[in-house]
Symmetry: C3
Subunit: 119 residues, 3 copies
């Protein structure tokens, strides 16, 4: 059931999306929280129009959001965000002179109203 959405700003050209998708899905589905590898749906979103802060500086960002059904422990959530961060920290471009911010967020999805099926 988890959904992973990774956004990155367009000044990180050359982001290895395909490799990152493979490695992220490996890292997340090997968590004991994910029972079936096929449940993880991951995507990349390129952000064209953005601004980081107010200072005239070269800044970029990578932000990942993992949405999963509510009920996980704080420890399990922290472990999942660390798994994601490890991959993105390693694979994200770090252009010279650009400050790159990485963030990872875990979101609980309401379990009672969630619909999930295979068509």
């Amino acid at each position: 059931m988890p959904h992973l959405i990774v956004e990155y700003s367009q000044n990180l050209a050359g982001f290895p999306e395909a490799q990152a998708l493979t490695e992220l899905n490996q890292a997340v589905t090997s968590s004991p929280e994910v029972l079936d590898e096929a449940d993880l749906k991951s995507r990349f979103v390129l952000v064209d129009s953005f601004e980081v802060g107010t200072a005239p500086a070269n800044r970029a960002f990578v932000h990942a959001q993992l949405r999963l059904l509510s009920g996980r422990t704080p420890e399990a959530k922290k472990d999942l965000s660390e798994r994601i961060a490890e991959v993105l920290r390693r694979l994200s471009p770090k252009p010279a002179g650009v400050m790159v911010q990485l963030s990872v967020e875990i979101v609980d999805m309401d379990r009672g109203s969630y619909v999930k099926e295979r068509l």
Copy 2:
């Protein structure tokens, strides 16, 4: 006030977005939870860069997120997600040899800080 966002992976080419928008808005605004049909703002997002799980298989997904102001009962939320699922289950392409996952998520928006107005 509700916001509906439907994402689908690009291997579901030919998704009838316009028809789905019409039917989704009909289905959701006919719920007693929605007082004014004009409040529902729905959009489709095509996902180009994605991967489902880790196995080498043809997989696709459709994911809908309905964001509405907090305070609904669990029953009302379940009814809303079922209304959305009914439309997407019916209208989503089901290409031969592709496993298509459908999911629907209801999200509570913080009521106290929400701003809503017509310009």
Copy 3:
């Protein structure tokens, strides 16, 4: 740490994104809730495929979502959404004959599992 995402429907052509990013970042980072201006990561998303309600009418929307770490007071959240609304109310196109809806939502992010670092 805050993330600001502003979506607008494509019938609001000519939205001054660059100016709005500058003014939004100024407005949000001047809040006492934001300690470092560089923490605010803002982006615009143009929505091509959308429908507002069910009536045959010309309708448009601008929706902003500010995601910030949990723990703020209701008053602080309301102040932040008002800061954002003030800018968007002023800068959003208002085409003749089109009903434009503006909404601003504040989202709490789970603090315990959040990862944030500079690469």
